[in-house]
Every structure is written in C-alpha cells, then in structure tokens.
C-alpha cells in the first residue's frame, strides 16, 4: 500500500497511457469489422474468403505480430503504431466473425419487409439491419475491448508504455506488489470499458432490452466469441 501511495503519480501516468493505447484498436477494429462483416454476410464468395483470412490473422501469436510490425511497417521498434496496428488486426479478426453472425441473425422477413415498403440498400442497412444487429455487435465489441486492454500489456516486452511496465519492472526487481498493482489496474480498465459499453448500449439500443430473442442471440454469440 505504501508503494502504491508513493508511486501514485507513475501509476496514473501509465494508466492513462494504457487507456490511450487501448482505445484506437477497439474503435478502429469495430469500424473496420462492421462493413467487412456485412460483406461476409451478404455474399457467399466473400464470406468464405473473409472469414478464413480473419481466422488466419487471429492465429498469429500476438508477440510475434508486435515484433514483426517494425519490419512490415518500416517503423522503429518503440513506435506505438506497432502495437496499435497489431491490436487493430486482432480486433478486426475477432470482430468480423461476430459481425457476420450479427447480420445473419437479423430476420430475413424483416429485411424483405423493409425492401417491400421501399427502403433502398443504403437506408435498409442504416435503419433496419444495423440497429437490429446492434445487440450482437455490442456483445462482440465487449469481448474485443476486454482482450485488447489485456493485450496492451505485452507492449512492455518491447519497451512500450502502459501498465505492462509494472510486470517487466516488477519482475526485474523481484517485487510482487508492483506486478499485482499492474494486474489489478489492467482489470479495472477492462471493467470500466465494459461498463461504459453496456451503458452506451442501454442508451443507443433501447430495443435490446425489450427484445428477448436478441438477447438470446447476443448470449450465444458471446459464448461463440469466447470459444473462438
């Protein structure tokens, strides 16, 4: 506890860095995965290709991808872009699967009704498919958010900032408290992100609470995402 109080400034700084490194991959991953997921849902050909590519990307071990990034991007090893690009790739790989399931789960009757009353493809996507796919997309986004926050700590192995610094530094100094602070801090960030996402869902997707079927879909999608 004394260590925590004595180092509160550093804990704050590293927490802030951790948050700043976590947000871009989560947001970018979501923004990229939704259209890709829609393409995979819409066309049979693209479905096979896109889902296979995402599966393969997700197969690459995270540390391998982080350390190979400087070579691929031509950046320096300490550039935060290495970590952000790596984690964005993971977020997309994880999220595309869920996004595809989310669009698949939208009832065909509903989309056909929308077409019948004169919705064009563009308006149908924004006003019918996307809102109805929302709850499942949110479930996927929560998984992505949690795993991204936890993966940011790996950056410490290549000397990047964030709470992972406490792991490498604590290990070198043989000081367990410091590591514990890092673990608890990382979990807290993940929990705060999760609560914020759930709240955002309550506000943006009021229909999700009424629609029990959607909730059931979201639950199975989450189980699937966890299994993946």
């Amino acid at each position: 506890m004394t260590w925590v109080l004595a180092n509160i400034g550093q804990i704050g700084d590293l927490t802030l860095d951790h948050v700043l490194l976590s947000i871009p991959p989560i947001l970018l991953g979501f923004l990229l995965a939704v259209p890709i997921g829609w393409l995979a849902h819409r066309y049979r050909v693209s479905r096979g290709v896109l889902l296979t590519v995402c599966g393969l990307l997700y197969t690459i071990p995270s540390l391998a991808l982080i350390v190979a990034m400087p070579t691929v991007l031509g950046t320096r090893i300490l550039n935060p872009a290495n970590l952000i690009v790596t984690l964005t790739i993971y977020a997309v790989a994880l999220m595309v699967r869920t996004a595809t399931d989310a669009f698949d789960a939208v009832s065909g009757d509903v989309t056909q009704s929308a077409t019948a009353v004169g919705f064009g493809a563009w308006r149908r996507f924004w006003q019918v498919q996307l809102p109805l796919a929302g709850p499942v997309l949110l479930a996927g986004l929560r998984v992505v958010s949690t795993s991204t926050v936890s993966l940011v700590t790996l950056g410490a192995l290549v000397g990047m900032s964030g709470l992972g610094y406490f792991f490498t530094n604590g290990y070198q100094r043989n000081f367990a408290t410091e590591i514990l602070v890092g673990i608890i801090g990382t979990i807290l960030i993940a929990v705060v992100f999760d609560v914020l996402l759930v709240l955002a869902g309550r506000i943006l997707l009021p229909w999700a609470r009424v629609d029990a079927a959607a909730r059931r879909n979201a639950r199975t999608a989450r189980t699937k995402a966890v299994a993946a």
Partner: protein, 248 residues
C-alpha cells in the same frame, strides 16, 4: 522486405539447426509445453464442461468466469507467479504451466458445454425414452454429436497456449520465444523476426491439423443430413413443425 529475406537465410543456415539454441530444440520445447498444458487443461476443463452441458448447472457461473479470465493479462500472471511463490528462474516451468493451463481452460470449457448444449434436446429425449441411462446418453449420443465443437475448443486452447508460451520466454523458459526475447535487448532484429516467423508457422500448422481433425470427427449421420438435400429438408420441416406446436 529485405529483413524477411535475411530471416529466411538465418533459418536456412545449418548452424542454427543443432545445439541447445537450435531450431529443433526450441521447437521441441515449445511443443512440449503446449502438449503438457493442453493435456492437463483438457482433463480439467472438458470433464467440467461435459458435466455443465449435460446437467445445465453452473452455466451462468462458467460463462462469467470465462469472460473474467479474458481480462487477466498473461504477462502479469506469469511474472507474478514466478516471483510471489519463489519459483525463481530454475523452476520457471511451474508458474508457466499454471498460467498456460489457466488460459487454456476457458476455450475448452466453452467448447465442451456449448457442444453438449448444441445437441438437439429431442435427440436426447429419444435416447432417454429408448431406455438409455444418463451415462450412455452422454457417451453414445451427446459426446459424439458434440465432438466437433469440443475439438474446436481444443483448437482455440492450443492457439492460445502456443502464443502465450512465446511470452513465457520472458521468465527464462525455453521455446521459440527465446529467439524474440534474447534478441530484442541486443537489437538483433533478424533473430527477432526469425522467432516471430517460426512461432507463426507453428501456430498455422497446428491450426491446420486441428481443423482437419475437427472435420473428421463430424459423425457420419450428421454429415449425411448436411449434404443430402432431401434429409436436410426433412430436418428443417421437423424443426418448423415442432416450433409451431410449441407456439400454439
């Protein structure tokens, strides 16, 4: 892209194919940790998962625990266990195996119980009405039908473990991660890339093997339903009819 060429030259060099830091040794170490961990984790998680799936008990708890574990940073757990219990550098294997088992459990558990849950309840009821005991239902009906999903869980677990075993090199363990962790401080980026490439290759090969096994474990009856149009129609009709009768 020149760096990749250099990495391949490094891999091709016969000098790197022998000795304690040679590719075969590191690969064997990596596979050894992975095999041992997955074996222990399968014994724990699949047993639990089958129980949860068959009885439907503790389902909520296990889903919660599964997502909570996802938030746990592996590097933190690894360094903490290595230090807190005084395993030190010589016994790095113990904290590593503990961490890897902990990480392998959620996907295995999820695969096992969602596999059992995915079995059509009418099939289970049919088996029960024919006089099968619960034990027979589990072994002769539920497990064979759930096997592809159970293997799917093994697949995710293996990937997770291969990736994390790389990180474990940080607490002075062997395996392919050694190349990355040893080469980073001395800025030997060719060797770092070699480590990254070899680990990726290993993960892809294991993934390929497990996908094939997963395909092979689909029971013949299920495969027939999926591929024969008339059977598929019949099954869809049965599903709709039972849904309709439930609704009325």
């Amino acid at each position: 892209m020149n760096a990749f060429a250099e990495a391949f030259v490094w891999i091709g060099d016969p000098a790197h194919w022998s000795g304690p830091d040679g590719i075969p040794t590191r690969l064997a170490e990596h596979l050894g940790y992975t095999g041992l961990t997955v074996l222990i984790a399968v014994l724990i998680a699949v047993t639990l998962g089958l129980y949860i799936g068959h009885t439907g008990r503790f389902r909520g708890v296990s889903i919660g625990a599964t997502s909570a574990l996802r938030a746990l940073p592996t590097l933190g757990l690894l360094t903490f266990l290595a230090i807190a219990f005084g395993f030190g550098i010589r016994l790095a294997l113990i904290p590593t195996i503990i961490v890897l088992v902990v990480l392998a459990i959620p996907p295995l558990l999820a695969g096992a119980y969602s596999g059992i849950e995915s079995v059509d309840p009418r099939t289970v009821d049919a088996a029960r009405s024919m006089g099968m005991t619960e034990w027979q239902i589990l072994w002769k009906v539920e497990i064979p039908l759930a096997l592809p999903l159970i293997i799917g869980g093994v697949r995710s677990a293996v990937l997770q473990v291969v990736a994390t075993a790389t990180v474990a090199a940080y607490i002075s363990l062997g395996g392919l991660g050694r190349y990355i962790i040893d080469a980073l401080p001395v800025r030997d980026y060719t060797k770092v890339l070699v480590g990254a490439l070899l680990v990726t290759l290993l993960a892809l090969v294991l993934e390929g093997i497990l996908i094939s096994i997963q395909r092979l474990t689909v029971p013949a009856g299920v495969r027939a339903i999926r591929t024969t149009p008339s059977l598929r129609r019949q099954r869809a009709y049965g599903r709709n009819a039972s849904a309709a009768s439930r609704a009325s």
